[in-house]
Amino acid sequence: MPDRIFEDDPSIPGDERLLRRIPRTWVDWDENGKAAISSAAFKDEELSVNLESVMARDLRPPVDAIRNYPGYGLAAITAGHARSMKQAVARDPLPEEPAHGVVYGQKKRRGIGGKLRDGAIWVVTPLQSEMG
């Protein structure tokens, strides 16, 4: 169980993009090479993300979120989509990642992880042949 509880931050607009690193073990490639994300990527009760607007404020492009993670993909959901799944969206800046945020709430049951995944788009698609 997470140690902390996060309240929704209304200063984060619904169209804010929340960026999530996706390791290869959470990706399945079909016969056409199309990458699909597992719902497992969106099941953490305290789900870490990067707030794109905070990165932009610091003149960091989204891809900066995976700069030190070769082989990873980068996916995005919107804060509005997360809230529609009864999730709280909060800022949680860390010394090493000022843009860090959290999507907080139960996700394992009632298909919430899968529905969050269904609303995700690739910002950076991982390559099937790349070693992660």
Binding site: R21, P23, T25, D28, S38, S39, A40, R110, G111
Partner: protein, 185 residues
């Protein structure tokens, strides 16, 4: 192996991870199947093993059976489990712990009893919490079987026709899971 036909495999609980790099489990034909075979044609159990590699580590899966062909899903599923066992701490970059070998053991034994000889292999996917889920996404069926720490196993099921997801606990609803898996073939 006269008279065995399409015998169903069941798995006996057996410690598969006696060491960090070895695994073994034992399976038998069901009692009913054995009764179909006369005493003169009683098949003989034989030890078998296969080796799987992941991130420079070798895992040997050992079991006993009657020498029948391995099911289509066997190698892919075992490789999937072994790949989970070699994930390092922080494998998701967000502080995930290693996958619990006891959960891998339980899942391996549980699902082996539900798959038919030609069942398509599921994807074996780690959870940040140290558990795992098995996934099938085919023929309009989305099926996920979740094994997690401190939680009763369950499966979720969604079809293209019925977009609503249903959840069922295990092992209580194993019969339903078996029938859904049969529809994946």
């Amino acid at each position: 192996m006269p008279g065995l036909g399409t015998a169903e495999l069941t798995v006996q609980e057996r410690g598969i991870l006696a060491t960090s790099a070895s695994a073994g489990y034992l399976d038998y034909f069901s009692k009913a199947d054995r009764l179909l075979v006369s005493a003169f044609h009683q098949p003989v159990l034989m030890p078998r093993k296969r080796k799987y590699y992941s991130l420079g580590q070798a895992y040997t899966i050992e079991w006993q059976d009657y020498g029948q062909p391995l099911p289509a899903w066997f190698d892919a599923l075992m490789q999937g489990f072994v790949d989970l066992l070699t994930l390092p701490p922080n494998w998701n970059s967000y502080g995930a712990g290693v996958v619990d070998p006891k959960i891998v053991h339980y899942a391996m034994n549980f699902i082996n009893g539900l798959l038919g000889p030609t069942t398509p292999a599921p994807r074996v996917v780690p959870l940040s919490s140290g558990g795992l889920q098995l996934e099938w996404h085919r023929k309009g069926i989305n099926l996920e079987v979740v094994f997690d720490r401190d939680e009763q196993p369950f499966f979720s099921h969604r079809t293209r026709v019925n977009e609503e997801e249903s959840e069922h606990t295990l092992p209580e609803d194993s019969g339903l899971l078996r029938s859904i898996i049969a529809n994946l073939e």
